[in-house]
Structure formats: C-alpha cells, structure tokens
Amino acid sequence: MKSSVIVFPGSNCDRDVAVALEKFQIKNQMVWHNDLSLPKSDLVVLPGGFSYGDYLRTGSIAGKSKIIKEVIEHAKNGGLVLGICNGFQILTETGLLPGVLLRNKDLKFISKNVYLKVTNTNNVFCTNFKKKNVVEFPIAHNEGNFFANDNLLNKLEDQNLIAFKYCNNKGEINDEANPNGSSKNIAGVLNEKKNVLGLMPHPERVIEPLLSGKDGSLLFESLLK
C-alpha cells in the first residue's frame, strides 16, 4: 500500500503520521502543498497541525491550496483520504466531509486522552475495531466542536456515517464524556462512499505501547486488509 502525507506550512503531525504509516509497512511519501500532482497513492493523509497559522478559519486556506484539487480528484475516484485533527478541519472546508469544526465550547485548547466509541466498523479504516470498539486516543485541539444542522445530523445517523463518538471508559456516550461540545459527541465522520474519514483525535500518537498506548494501531492495521 502506498500513501502520501500532504505537508502544509504549519503542519506539525506530518512526521508522526509518516512514522506510523511506515511502521505498518505502508510506503509513504511526503507531498508539499504547492505541488501540482499527487504521486500514485492508495491513501492520502492530511495531518494535524496549524496549517497557515489557522488564519481566517481553521483549514480554510489549506482547503484552497494547489495540491487539494488533486486530493479531491483522488477522493472522487474512490481513493482513500484520512484527515486527522487539522486534516479533518481541512476536509470539511473542501466539502469532502460534511459539517464544520467550531471553536471548543469552553474556548480552551484541550490536550488530553479521551475515550472513543467506534460507531461504524464497516469501513476500510475501522474494520479492526470490531475486536475493541472502545479505545483511548489523545486529542489536542482548539477547534474540535463538530457542528452540523439537525437535517445533516439525522442524515449522518441514518446513513451510519459517524465513525467515532466521544464516550467514557465504559463506552457510554453522554455529555460528561464530550470534551468540546461536539453535536452528538461526534469525533469522526465518513463521507457517503466511506472512502474519506476525518477525526479530531490522533491515532498516530498511540501506536507504541512503550510510549503512549497502541489503540491507534487498529486504524492503521485496518488499512492493510
């Protein structure tokens, strides 16, 4: 499997995710945002960070960068796209994913571990979560408050496009387990074709038990199937 990680000015999780991909034998290439063509890839990753200093709205400027046209084309042709944190924000700005990420409800940057319930395991990113569907990932964001209007939220539920929800360690989805005010505790969503996933938590930071945990490995292992 081949992947490309897109690097924007201000990306800071690009190398972390590259290490994660390589750990799972995914052949990765870094691609600069100003490049006009995407190398042949099965998976494109938009990494976390603060692309363009979060100017205007998080992800908005990156969403108009030169390489993004190619990423949209790749997604439309069925190629896989994974957006983590700022990458998720960029995907909503491009329209590849629905909704938008607002400032956290309490206006604070949140950096901590959270529990997630994997609410859809029938997609290429999440098949391995069948064996463990409550996992612990770190979050680190200021704008992670997923917002969509009621029609869209109903559609996401009906079509089973919500991949991750914030929950407690027992897997219960409630207000107390919601760190940032996200509608319906949403932490990650899929597009209709389920080839594009965006999530605020960082799977690439939990791939090494010695350092932090290994729940994130389940996502990368799912991709290999």
Binding site: L56, R57, S60, K64, T92, E93, G99, V100, L102, R103, N104, K105, D106, L107, N145, F147, A148, N149, G181
Partner: protein, 80 residues
C-alpha cells in the same frame, strides 16, 4: 471600488466568544444587553468600476473563501 463584507455566525450556531463578550459587558454595568454576536469584517479593494460586477465578485469571494456558508452568513456593501 471597495467591497466591505461582514461575516457572522448564523443565529442557530453557538458563538462562545460572543457569549463571553456579552457577559463581560454585563459585568461592566451594561445590564440591558440581550445578545452579542462576534464576527469578521473584510475590506477588499478591487480595480473595477462597475458596482454590479463588484457585487458579483464579492458574492463569489464570500461563498468560496471569506465565509463558510455551513455556519456563517455574510453581508456585502460596495463603495467608491
């Protein structure tokens, strides 16, 4: 000509910054405030003399970049 665009969150979208500003103003003694909504203001200077064309370009800019129409709305005015 000059395009002025004001971008604000739609009414049904939570505006935590606006809430904090509202609370602070109340604490300062402005008790009769019912709501504060915070937004962004853009000035775009355009080499174009036709106001109708300016308006059209401004609409496109607001739709494509200056606002995210999922959560925001915009108001445009054109001046010399």
């Amino acid at each position: 000509m000059k395009i002025s665009a004001i971008v604000t969150l739609k009414n049904d979208v939570l505006d935590p910054q606006g809430k904090v500003v509202s609370q602070t103003l109340k604490n300062m003694g402005y008790k009769n405030i019912s709501q504060v909504r915070q937004g962004k203001y853009f000035e775009v200077h355009l080499d174009e003399k036709n106001p109708a064309k300016c308006k059209e370009v401004a609409e496109q800019m607001c739709k494509k970049l200056l606002s995210n129409t999922v959560i925001e709305e915009y108001k445009i005015s054109i001046s010399e």
